[in-house]
Each structure stands twice: as C-alpha cells, then as structure tokens.
Symmetry: C2
C-alpha cells in the first residue's frame, strides 16, 4: 500500500546538476588531474566542491551515504556495538592531557570560543570517549566489554586535500572504541571487529586486504589497515600472492622481497586505506584513569581498542575501483537508486510503450516494497533514449529498464540493462518483476 501511495520519482524533479565544470576543483585550480571517483561524482551531480577538501553531498550521494551507514550500523551491532554521538567541538584540555594537542601539529583545526577557551574539531575521539568512561565511577567488570561507536563528521587540516572524497578535510568516519577487562578480552574484541569489517567489505563486493600497519599518532602496539588495492591509493602494500602475509610497505624493510611465511615473492601494489584498527592497551585509560571494578573489588585500568572506517572514503573508493571511465558503478547495496525506467522519446514510433513502462514501474513498486524510493522514471521524453541511458550511467543505477521497439510487441518485451553484471536481456513484464523482486537493498 505504502508503495502504491508514494508518487513516482521523476528524473526531471531530482536535484542532480549534471553540468558542473568538468573535473571539479582540482582542474579548475590548475592543480593535478582529479581521480576517477572525483571526476565521476562531480560530473554526475553527486557531490559539489564547497572549499578545499570540503564537499556538498547532493541528494543521490546522501542516499548512497545513508545506505552505507545503515550497513555499517548493522555490522557494528553484530559486533556488540552500541551507537553514541560525541561533539565535534573538543576541549583542548583533554588533548593536552594525552599529549596530542602538541603532537598533532597543524593537522588539528583549532579555535577559541568567545571566552578564549581552546577547542579543536575532533579528528578522532579517544580522549573524549575515555573521559566519558572515566566519569562513570562505578563501572563493573560485569558491564565489560563495552563497544561504543559513532558515525560522525571528522576534521583534519590536510596540507594538500586531494582526490575528492578520498582525502578531504571534513569527512564522515565510523569510529568504535572498545573497553575490556583484560588484554586477552581486548584481543577478542579486536578480532571480532576486524571480522565484522571483513564481512562488511565482502557484502559490498570490495576486495579489501587486511595488512599489518604502523600505529602512527593514535598509538598502541598492534594495528592493521584495511586496504582496497587501487592505483590511485596513497599507501604502498606488500602482499603474499598466496595470502600468507600482507603489510603496509612502511612496516617492512625495502629489501624484503619474499613472504616471511612461505618464501614466495611479495607483490608490491598501492592501496586506499578504508579502515584502520588499533589495540591501544592502557595508553588512554591510564591518562584519564578510566577504571573498572574487578571481581576482586579492585580498581583496574580498562584495556582499549579503537577502530575506524572512512565512511565517505569507502563511498568514493568503491566508485573508484568499480566504475568504468565514464560510467559510475556502485556496490549494489548502496547504489543511490536501484532502477531507472526509460520510456520512449516523445513523438517516436514507440511512444505507446510509455504507458506500459509506467504501469511496469507501479507493478514493481507493488511487488517489491523493499524498492520503495529506489525506482526512478526518466520522464525527460524530449530526450532520446540514448541520451538518457548515458545520464543513467552517470548516476549508476544497477538496473535500467527501457521501453524500446519490442515494448510495442505482443507480449511487450522490455530491454533490461543489468549494469553490474554487464548484461542486456529482454524480459516480459513478469520477467522484470521477477528479477527486481529479488533485489536486496540496504
């Protein structure tokens, strides 16, 4: 019923400005060439540059982003995560206490309020979440593990923001913080979250590799990155082709050419870091005195881990590796819309197929309620089918249903472009409904 009552979504009404200057800010500023995802997302009217490293997310991108966040929420819930939300404004005191006020240097956006009190725009929340836990004076070992996460905007004053959403100054990140009663329990939390990351990337159809990493400014003793191999990536990876070993190249010596386990020659490649995990031990809990009461009624410092996912970076990285030179391709689960229906051109001989296609749209909406809001009709019938198919490629619908010549046959047959499979098939009304009823959305 809800699907029936919802009016049809029309391309002519969508705010998806396809006319932004090709290439976006980098080209405009005479800088380096934009990467594929940046170019496609800007040209397709999905994002628009606002300031260096800061983008407007336009309606189609917001849909993809919200679908991705829903998937991330599911993955974090499955790993025992509870969602909270901490402020962007983060008081300087806590950062001074951890030593990061100095150590983060120019990467931290800093400001003062009207009373002269110092703040930064948080790039990450180890200090904040540890203070939050420390304020709970009677935390018991029975309440552990605690796995708290959020999906919020983060800020980093990159010296040279580039590659669109891949390295911005304001971006969306999922950050989880775990608190455990012992080092062993903390390692279990660590593996649980890493496994959840692995499942998430598989669900997205992204071949992400977990590599050993340097803990950097966050600190701690064990750290892994989740890297999506891609030419445009800024990290260098060394991978065992048999899967026995994977490392960020900066963690091994330049001379190491063979896998330490099997002796096979290591493959060198580049990667986009889409996730990063850290076992922190008591590095932060000791600073803020985040303790819990043990079974023996003694106070003990919590063992911590932290776990980041670059949410907007994953969005762009997926487009980067899945798209062709001029057509956006999304992981099916997070495509902004699943299906575009293209009726014939006005005045063409096939024009009577238009009514059939509109009926098909309504039939699919009824038969596949999970697709409510995911079906779009390209009503710009003053344009040829070819022109509209090209525009559909600039948005990246997994399915495009066209009413061409055969829609006037008996029975009517529609042209179905399954973009992620790279197939074109011809299906009757029942065939289209059957195909689309099986589509899963996030």
């Amino acid at each position: 019923m809800a699907a029936l009552l919802r009016p049809r979504l029309l391309v002519s009404r969508l705010f998806q400005p396809l006319c932004w200057a090709e290439g976006g800010e980098a080209a405009a500023a005479g800088g380096e060439a934009p990467c594929r995802s940046q170019r496609l997302l800007v040209q397709g009217g999905l994002i628009s540059p606002a300031a260096p490293g800061c983008y407007h997310y336009l309606p189609a991108a917001v849909r993809a982003l919200e679908k991705l966040v829903a998937l991330v929420d599911g993955a974090m819930r499955a790993a025992g995560g509870q969602k909270l939300s901490m402020p962007c404004l983060s008081a300087a005191e806590a950062w001074r206490a951890s030593g990061r006020w100095e150590r983060m240097g120019a990467e931290l956006f800093r400001l003062a309020d009207r009373h002269g009190k110092g703040y930064c725009l948080a790039p990450t929340h180890e200090e904040a979440v540890t203070e939050l836990l420390a304020a709970q004076s009677n935390l018991s070992y029975r309440q552990l593990p605690l796995r708290l996460y959020q999906v919020t905007r983060k800020f980093r004053d990159e010296p040279k923001p580039r590659l669109g959403l891949l390295r911005g100054r304001e971006f969306h990140m999922k950050d989880m913080y775990t608190f455990d009663a012992s080092a062993e329990a903390a390692r279990r939390s660590y593996e649980l979250v890493c496994d959840a990351y692995g499942r998430l990337f598989r669900a997205l159809g992204l071949r992400v590799v977990r590599v050993q990493a340097d803990a950097g400014a966050i600190g701690g003793t064990v750290s892994h990155e989740f890297q999506l191999p891609a030419e445009v990536g800024e990290d260098r990876l060394a991978l065992c082709p048999a899967g026995h070993f994977a490392a960020n190249a900066e963690t091994i010596s330049a001379e190491q050419a063979a896998c330490p386990t099997c002796g096979e020659p290591l493959t060198r490649t580049r990667g986009i870091e889409v996730g990063h995990t850290f076992y922190l031990g008591t590095k932060y809990s000791s600073v803020f005195n985040a303790t819990f009461c043990t079974a023996e009624n003694k106070l003990q410092l919590a063992e911590m881990g932290c776990y980041g996912l670059g949410v907007t970076r994953i969005l762009a990285a997926a487009v980067e590796v899945l798209s062709t030179e001029d057509s956006i391709r999304w992981p099916s689960l997070i495509a902004p819309y699943q299906v575009c229906f293209i009726p014939p051109k006005k005045g063409s001989r096939e024009e009577k197929g238009a009514a059939l296609l509109e009926r098909l749209y309504d039939d699919v909406a009824e038969a596949a309620p999970q697709l409510a809001g995911d079906l779009v009709l390209d009503d710009r019938t003053q344009l040829t089918i070819g022109k509209r198919l090209k525009d559909a490629d600039r948005l990246g619908y997994p399915y495009v249903i066209i009413a061409g010549k055969k829609a006037c046959g008996d029975p009517a047959v529609f042209e179905v472009w399954s973009q992620n499979a790279g197939e074109v098939t011809f299906l009757t009304r029942e065939g289209v409904i059957d195909l689309l009823s099986k589509v899963r959305v996030s």
Copy 2:
C-alpha cells in the same frame, strides 16, 4: 524470522550510566538550576555534558534522535524535500558577501586553516546553498520549485549556554531552503512547509503554536516561529485564546492586550522555539546571483525561503513538557525503546514467572516485527521489581510489562504499565501480544 534471530536486548548490557552527578554541569558549576529535561536526560544516562553547551548523546538518546530524524525526513519528503548535506566548515568569503561575517559577531565560531584562510562553523546555510544553486548556470524554471534540506550539526557560540539541549552551542538542526520562480510560488512553498511542520508536531503529540515572528539576523519579510508553550521557554508569547492570533511578544507593543481580530484578551505565556520559517525573497539570491531561466528565456533571481527545526531541541522540549518530576515521558513515536519486560526478582516466590516473561518477549518479537530492536528485558534480577520499575521510568519506556504474582496463575496474567496513558492493566499473554502488535514506531 529476523526478529527471532535477533538476540534479546538486556538492560545489563546497555550503556546507560545512571550514576552521573545529579543535576549535570549547571549544578556542578554552581550555576543556575538545570531544567527538568536537562536533569532527567543527564540522570537517566541519556546525555552527558562534554563541554559548555556540548553533549555526548548516549545510546538511548541516539535511538530517540534517529527516530525523530526519520520522522522529519518523512515530513520533508512529503513537502517535496530532497535531502543533501553541506559542510560544517564554511569559508569566510561567502559570509562577508552576505554581510553576516560582521553582523553575526561573537555568535559565530571562527577559525583559520593552516594557510590562514578564514572559516566559520556554520550555524545555518543560506550562503552555502545559494552559492550551490548559483553555480548551476542553466537552471530552468521547469526545475523549480527546488526544496533542499539537510539534518546536520550546527554551531553557535552562545554567550551563556544553558538548559541542556534547549540552548546548546553544538546541536542538530533540520534546515530547508526553497527556490521558487515567483513570489506567489514561494508563498505556496512557505505554506506547504509550515503545514508539514504542523503535521509533524501533531504526530509527536506536541501542542506547538505557530506565531508571527521577527526575522532577526536571517532577514526577509515574513517569518513565523513554532513555539511549544513551556514555563522554561525563553520566548514570550501573546496568544488569542480562540486561536485567531499568535505572536512572539517582541513583535507587538507591550500595551496590546486584545486580539486584533476578535478583541478577546490575549494570554501571555512562555514558549520554546522549536521551529522557525522565513520568507527571504531575493535577499540571498541577489547577493550570489542565483538565477534561473524563465519561460521567456530571461534570467531571473530565485525567490527563496528557509525553514529550521531544532531537532535536538525538539527532543529535549518534548521531554520537558511531557515528563513528570522524576519520570521521563517521550512522544511514543520517538521513545528510545518501546517496551521493557521486568521478570521477578531472583529467589522470590514468583521466580517461575521469569521463563514465561522471556517467552512473551520472544512472542512479541515475532508477532510485532516493527518492534525489533525496541524490546528490552531487564535481566538485573538481583534487584527488586520496584527498583527496576523506577529505572524504567528514568529511561521512559511507553510500556512496561511485569511478571508479578499473577504471572504464576493459570492463565498467567502480566502487569502492563501503559505509561503515556497513565494506566495499569492486567493482561494474558494474548492480550499483551494484541496490545503491542498495534504499537506504531517511527
């Protein structure tokens, strides 16, 4: 099936620290007494002060917030809204162009990046969205009206942040911006959005009044506030008891005592401003040259409106007016969880009711899949039912189901507290399932 596979939510596992210092930051700082919503939300472990006017939203509050945002999304979609997302970091140039860089004074959080370029943390996005539209060079009258909105964090350096979420420095706001081809069309957009606000507040069960308002720093010629009458409110209202007239008192003379329409004496009351609408005309489109192409192929400035809803303020305002002195009450649609199941105390004579209650939990999860994630079992059976019922009141479940003495009867009968109706009834298993199957959630 999904509901069955989901493990039961246990109170002992929820991060809802009930032990924060009573009264929160204001009392701690020796300042004024906190208002009811601030006190209840802090004591109940729903929010926690991070810095003046900045709060952590803890898991239960995040659930309420996400439900409210889903309702707001629905209301905005129904008004033809398309959701986008603009950066918090907003370059100084645009604010200088509109004159607000100076005019906003100390309320604007300002900062410079590593290159010395000036930014503010946007409290609102008239400049940004108008620039975005102006960049679309070939906008046609056929694409209008455009109604773009977002739900994001906003920042305002309040001289004296107070009353918890009612007047913070970092808060969530829904802001919509409309672009129309004529003043008449813009007024239609204006009424459409105001009507959507009215429906939203009715769905929440909040008696919000639309009053004539001053346009203030935003500017424009017509403006209304949506005010929730409440003693703690910072605005003074003058209302006609028959509903013919409603104004923010600052827009009328102090002497005006009678309704200008019907002559009835005006009632003076206080209100919390939960929404604000502005008809802007071409105030911003003229600054940034946001034009569209008319049917006569001429360029013309777009007629604008802007429309705010204080999302986190609505959350707190609802708690403020619906709660009792020591029990949180939510609008049912946005309560963090709908139902709390309280089994008997361990070792009590009624203990065998525990298994029946757990089965009831599972039965409800199966019969009412819309409640998946909204059912909580208070497994802290070391505590009395009374103590747990008190804790349930501090979170604000619309329904509390207790297995007391009668749960051991034949047939088993459960004690059902319908908190928003203020009723206690005794129902069999079937009665409980029947009652809860009808609960609507956002």
